[in-house]
């Protein structure tokens, strides 16, 4: 009986300490994985390629006021005058690609389930209403690049900006 009491005491202390250690201070944050595209052999036709990335994780633990995440991008340039306009880069997030890691089981919702072109202005792709989605969630967006037929060979670079925000 005493052994059982000790076990319960240990469970209580462990939970209390874990709570203190993991929630003493939190703020909305996002961690993203690298995004890569396969090389493309230029054959004189438009070609679409899908980027590969693993899940991006939003930690909204303790954030009950609602939040959203946006994605924006720049043109792909190769440094010697070659440009692939950012409108060729598209993103979407299927609702099934939002997965609960821990916390509130009410998942944030995708606000862009079909492909939309990226631009310099952020595209909101996921959001959580006030009072929901206070937890950690994995998001795996799909990103597609259309390589136009007239593209020159070279090493192209674009900058993607992912912003997670709280606001009205």
């Amino acid at each position: 009986m005493k052994r059982i009491q000790s076990v319960w005491l240990a469970v209580f202390i462990a939970l209390a300490l874990a709570g203190l250690l993991t929630t003493h201070s939190s703020a909305l944050s996002i961690s993203t994985s690298a995004l890569s595209f396969p090389n493309v052999f230029l054959n004189g036709y438009d070609q679409s390629i899908l980027g590969s990335t693993s899940a991006w994780q939003v930690d909204a633990s303790g954030e009950a006021g609602g939040w959203n995440a946006t994605i924006s991008a720049t043109d792909f340039t190769n440094g010697v005058g070659g440009v692939i306009y950012v409108s060729n880069l598209e993103a979407r997030l299927a609702d099934s690609s939002i997965v609960l890691v821990s916390g509130d089981p009410i998942l944030p919702t995708s606000t862009q389930t079909t492909f939309a072109a990226l631009s310099g202005v952020g595209l909101k792709f996921v959001s959580a209403a006030s009072g929901t989605s206070d937890g950690i969630y994995d998001l795996t967006p799909e990103i597609r690049l259309t390589v136009p037929a007239e593209t020159y060979i070279g090493n192209y670079t674009s900058t993607l900006t992912i912003t997670v925000s709280v606001g009205p």
Binding site: V11, L42, N68, T70, Q112, S158, V166
Partner: protein
């Protein structure tokens, strides 16, 4: 002495068990956060009666005022992180909701230039794993600022990561390769409400067919907040035949916040394609009891190729007909809630009856002993 030994034994048992359980709970969290850098920013205090200040900064103040506050920047990841810290203009994201202008850029709406209202003592900081730091800042409202809601932001930004560089070596003749730099930012809004005469006004500027493919159809709707308050809207995207005699589809809309003065594109998906033919597209929206309408935009689909023809017909719907759209929706909601209430009541009666019956049986058993 044996008592003390037994007592110590018990304590060490509890301590070991606690450590083991703590490790079980904490290690997955640590492993998760050390996999990637993770950082954030938030207010340090909330104001009574202003629930939003738990999440972001919100001030009601007058032109010319100067005041101070502080933000908490923290590194909750497993490795040290260097962050750029700056104030930014609040902007509206495509699909609505608050976003922030990039470093060195400005917004287009009423909040343009608000980043300059905020002074920060530093522009960059490095935080060790688990470290947090208070960043004081000062807000100075220009003396000539007009009434309305303004949004600035405090943004922390990590140094970009470059991906796909490793594929350089494998490039062959005639190939193009693509690298992506990823900039991660976390932003917290600083809302400034300058009291005075405020207006609430929404314009639907354009409706277009964004894409039609095997996945379905996506329309785009351009809205502009021409007032001085935040606007959210609800309504319908309505597709009719060319004579506006038959409604082909109605898509419910719920558009997130548009900041004052901003123009925003919202994407409206539909999981089916439209057949060849001529259609009229209309959008009716309600924002705080007011209505915004753009109707009768022509869409002609020929051999699967859609073409938008501009406004062909106006006064498609009378104001009474527009009200009917919203009433129908309201009635739908109230019907569902009435059904939920009726089912809950019946279930409660059933549970009550079962409890009463089981109590009755127990009583009977006590009165009529078996032996």
């Amino acid at each position: 002495m044996p008592n003390l030994r037994s007592y110590l034994k018990k304590i060490s048992f509890v301590v070991v068990l606690t450590i083991l359980m703590l490790a079980l709970i904490i290690l997955p969290v640590l492993a998760q956060s050390s996999a990637n850098i993770s950082f954030g920013i938030r207010p340090t205090k909330a104001l009574e009666g202003q629930a939003e200040t738990y999440s972001y900064f919100s001030f009601r103040t007058s032109p010319g005022s100067v005041f101070n506050d502080e933000a908490l920047v923290l590194n909750d990841g497993g490795e040290a992180v260097t962050l750029k810290v700056y104030a930014a203009d609040g902007i509206t994201a495509r699909n609505g909701g608050t976003d922030f202008a990039k470093f060195g850029e400005e917004g287009d709406g009423m909040s343009r230039g608000t980043h300059a209202w905020i002074s920060l003592p530093l522009s960059e900081l490095t935080l060790a794993p688990g470290e947090e730091r208070l960043i004081p800042f000062q807000i100075a409202i220009p003396a000539d600022a007009s009434s309305g809601y303004y949004v600035a932001g405090l943004v922390v930004e990590a140094v970009p990561e470059v991906s796909a560089i490793e594929s350089v070596a494998t490039t062959t003749e005639g190939e193009a390769q693509f690298n992506v730099e990823v900039i991660r930012r976390v932003g917290v809004a600083v809302v400034i409400d300058i009291p005075g005469e405020q207006s609430s006004s929404l314009e639907i500027e354009n409706i277009a067919l964004y894409r039609q493919d095997e996945q379905g159809t996506t329309f785009s709707v351009d809205l502009r907040n021409t007032g001085s308050t935040f606007l959210q809207s609800k309504g319908f995207f309505v597709v009719t035949d060319r004579n506006a005699e038959r409604i082909i589809t109605t898509i419910p809309l719920e558009f997130d916040t548009i900041l004052p003065g901003d123009k925003v594109t919202f994407y409206v998906p539909r999981s089916a394609r439209f057949e060849d033919g001529k259609y009229l597209l209309s959008v009716v929206l309600d924002y705080g009891g007011e209505k915004a309408v753009l109707e009768g935009i022509g869409m002609n689909i020929k051999n699967g190729q859609p073409e938008i023809e501009g406004q062909i017909l106006d006064n498609l719907f009378t104001s009474e007909e527009i009200e009917v759209f919203f009433e129908k929706e309201g009635k739908g909601d109230s019907f569902i809630w009435t059904m939920v209430a009726v089912v809950s009541f019946i279930l409660a009666l059933l549970v009550g009856w079962l409890v009463y019956r089981s109590g009755e049986k127990k009583e009977k058993k006590e009165v009529d002993p078996i032996f």
